[in-house]
């Protein structure tokens, strides 16, 4: 008896559900459109929709889903994290950003959520920030992969998204459909050309490429290998390594056996440091060594000390690039309580991105993201790295303070392109320090 009645109830439930679904399916089409309109509206409305009686505002909310825990957390603490925190403090110390439509300076409030390095969580949190919290401005999430997912969403809800850690040439093809997304960091193609020119000039004959098996690695190896071959440099091998690999000594052994003159490692800090250590351990000292992110960090020099002499990495800026950048470095170190935790590749660029955003708000006189977007896309901004503007959603190569850096006497010198260089490239790199 009971069984039957229970089954009955369930079946009825099913029926009800199906009915509702059919009902909703009818609505859905309408809903869809409405939903989309809604989001468009809300983006506009939240800032400028109701033109006349602007709701009084006493702060600008800057929201972001950042990886504070999990594998990506390494980057928040060393790359963009210190920059946006310092920038917010600096702006607030000045009293805020002047926004014309409110005719006053508005301080910034940071609203940071932890996406735990999980893409699905990151997407949900971005939506929460945009739909529920209705933040005024958005910070980019960490890593190229996350940017790929975040850019279309921010675009859909009409929020300006200026990239931070990560950036992919691949996104460039989609830029036309992503008017609200601005890529900030150097593309692989920006950096590969000056690097290859430099080592070709120095007479390097052979190279080996180790790349991490993800977008970053593919993009860099994909940009470097053809250029190397065109410049007449023999590429002995180009191999991928998985994330979290422990032992890379087999690759180094192979490079050593083939007497490769330039070792190119396009990977992340963890793997780069392993390659570096294992080169030292195996007594392999190529004439040129260049690494991906991680080598540009001050902590790299803390770890390896003298052994960093002559090691190259992507980047770069330093205290010698310009007085403004020297000042930025000083402030960054001060803001972190005197700890010299500086990223000599990205931090000046991230800071410039925030400055561009600030100037865009002042020029636009509003927090309406659609207006901000137009200002960002068309105007030129005075930033710590000099003039900065966006072309086709990305930063043109000449804006960057440098493309390749090299550790020389404890300073990450800019060595390419030559017009921005702060020092002459040191090729071949000196021997490992004696133990």
């Amino acid at each position: 008896m009971k069984k039957k009645s229970l089954l009955l109830i369930c079946l009825i439930a099913c029926l009800v559900l199906v009915l509702i679904l059919v009902g909703c399916a009818g609505n859905k089409a309408g809903n869809n459109g409405a939903g989309n309109n809604d989001s468009n509206n809300s983006a506009g409305q939240n800032d400028s929709g109701d033109k006349k009686p602007l709701p009084d505002k006493d702060k600008i909310v800057l929201g972001g889903a950042r990886s504070l825990t999990g594998p990506l957390a390494i980057q928040d603490q060393t790359c963009f994290g210190p920059v946006y925190r310092m920038w917010v403090d600096e702006v607030n110390a000045r009293g805020g950003i002047y926004v014309k439509e409110y005719d006053k300076k508005l301080p910034i409030e940071l609203k940071i959520y932890d996406d735990t390095s999980d893409m699905n969580t990151m997407i949900n949190l971005l939506k929460k920030l945009m739909i529920e919290d209705k933040v005024d401005l958005l910070l980019a999430p960490i890593s190229t992969g996350f940017l790929h997912a975040a850019a279309p969403i921010a675009n859909e809800y009409g929020y300006v998204l200026i990239g931070a850690e990560g950036g992919a040439k691949e996104l460039e093809s989609m830029m036309a459909s992503l008017p609200y997304f601005f890529s900030l960091l150097n593309y692989a193609t920006h950096q590969a050309q000056p690097f290859v020119d430099m080592i070709a000039e120095a007479g390097i004959k052979s190279a080996a490429v180790i790349f991490i098996a993800d977008q970053h690695g593919i993009e860099y190896s994909g940009a470097l290998v053809p250029l190397l071959e065109m410049a007449g440099i023999r590429v002995e091998f180009s191999r991928s390594i998985p994330q979290g690999v422990q032992d890379v000594s087999a690759l180094i052994e192979e490079a050593k056996a083939k007497n490769v003159e330039a070792l190119l490692c396009c990977a992340y800090p963890d793997e780069n440091f392993k390659v570096m250590s294992q080169c030292m351990e195996s007594d392999y000292n190529p004439k040129v060594m260049v690494f991906g992110p991680g080598i540009c960090l001050e902590v790299f020099h803390d770890i390896y000390g003298e052994a960093t002499e002559g090691v190259m990495g992507w980047g770069a800026w330093n205290e010698k690039s310009s007085p403004e950048m020297a000042d930025l470095a000083k402030r960054l170190i001060e803001h972190q309580g005197g700890v010299r935790n500086v990223d000599w590749w990205g931090q000046a660029i991230y800071y410039s991105g925030l400055q561009a955003l600030e100037q865009a708000i002042e020029k636009a006189g509003t927090l309406d993201n659609s207006v901000l977007r137009d200002v960002l896309a068309t105007e030129t901004f005075d930033t710590v790295i000099g003039k900065l503007w966006f072309e086709n959603g990305g930063v043109p190569a000449e804006c960057y303070p440098g493309q390749v850096g090299q550790w020389q006497n404890g300073i990450f010198e800019v060595v390419a392109p030559s017009e921005k260089a702060t020092a002459k490239p040191l090729i071949p790199k000196p021997a490992w320090p004696a133990q």
């Binding site: 229970l6 099913c14 509702i20 859905k28 809903n31 939903g35 949900n124 279309p152 098996a213």
Partner: protein
């Protein structure tokens, strides 16, 4: 005692029906973000229910949930723009179904912890091989997925959840379900009384994975960008297991409540206390396992028992009640 049990038996389906009806109506009266949040809850509810359908009843702790989920995600990544949405969802389910059949057939000999470890490493193996294959052989760097709007995704997930619950209910009611739980209590004895242990296990594994795959296929459309590291994330193996234990095993409501409370708790922590999220989360987990060994549902049952049958049953209840308040 018996009376209360009977009432409980009627209450459960009624409550479920009400909740389902309510949830179906949600998108029309709440703000869009609630839908996004509920969507995540539903997704985890499906993973958790499917997990407990197999692991909860047979006692084999599977940690391959992420593999089936990833199989669903990848189905959409490859077929997303070629097929209509309902077909993709079913295809995702089938992909996971086949994978589970294979894995089930291979792992027949393994028991206990070995089964768990095997399934765990299968996730990593698939991730690594797929990654290597995509990078080195076909030179792909992740997939873009055609976007479907949140409300649609939400409804599809809701339908999957209801189907899954019906399936579980029917299985538990049938001879098939009885045979399953006999495996859980004593596999040798089950085999002796003529239960086709092997076939049953593999089939249940595959059926439960079918739903995980479907959930994965539809969730892919909300994620927009997929690569193998995103798709085969071990968290999606651990979380459903934790949620099920958190909610309480052995009852269809347990995993459901576990998934909902767990997801909501996590959401609050990562937004309100992003810098202390892990510490609080870890502490709650440790306290839960210490003081609520039979999960939230176990606690609710204890309270229910106490209410209907005021015979003193000391111990767990008072301490447990405190924690339930904080976590609900």
């Amino acid at each position: 005692m018996k009376k209360s049990k009977r009432i409980a038996k009627y209450i459960v389906p009624v409550v479920i029906v009400l909740v389902v009806v309510l949830m179906a109506a949600v998108p029309s009266f709440t703000d869009p973000y609630k839908v996004v949040l509920l969507r995540t809850i539903l997704m985890f509810a499906i993973l958790t229910l499917s997990w407990s359908l197999f692991s909860g009843t047979t006692g084999y702790t599977s940690l391959a949930t992420a593999a089936f989920y990833g199989a669903g995600l990848y189905t959409t990544a490859y077929l997303g723009d070629k097929l209509p949405l309902p077909l993709i969802v079913v295809c995702g389910g089938i992909a996971a179904f086949v994978l589970a059949l294979l894995m089930g057939a291979i792992t027949l000999r393994l028991k206990g912890i070995y089964f768990s470890i095997f399934t765990l490493s299968s996730v990593e193996l698939i991730k690594q091989i797929l990654h290597w294959y995509e990078i080195n052989i076909i030179g792909v760097r992740g997939h873009y997925v055609t976007r479907v709007n949140d409300v649609t995704v939400y409804y599809v997930l809701l339908v999957i959840t209801v189907l899954l619950m019906l399936t579980i209910y029917l299985i538990k009611r049938s001879r098939y379900g009885l045979a399953l739980s006999s495996i859980g209590s004593c596999e040798e004895a089950a085999a002796h009384i003529g239960v086709n242990v092997v076939g049953l296990k593999v089939l249940t594994y595959a059926i439960s994975s079918f739903f995980i795959g479907m959930a994965g296929a539809i969730m892919a459309t909300a994620m927009l960008y997929i690569d193998s590291y995103v798709a085969f994330d071990l968290n999606y193996s651990f979380f459903p297991t934790l949620m099920a234990i958190f909610g309480g095993l052995g009852n269809i409501l347990g995993p459901l409540v576990g998934a909902a409370v767990f997801t909501y708790l996590r959401e609050i922590l990562i937004t309100k206390y992003p810098y202390h999220y892990m510490l609080i989360f870890g502490t709650v987990m440790v306290l839960t396992i210490l003081y609520l060994p039979s999960g939230l549902i176990g606690l609710a049952q204890n309270i229910w028992k106490k209410l209907t049958n005021p015979a003193p049953e000391k111990g767990l209840k008072t301490e447990g009640g405190k924690h339930a308040d904080t976590s609900c």
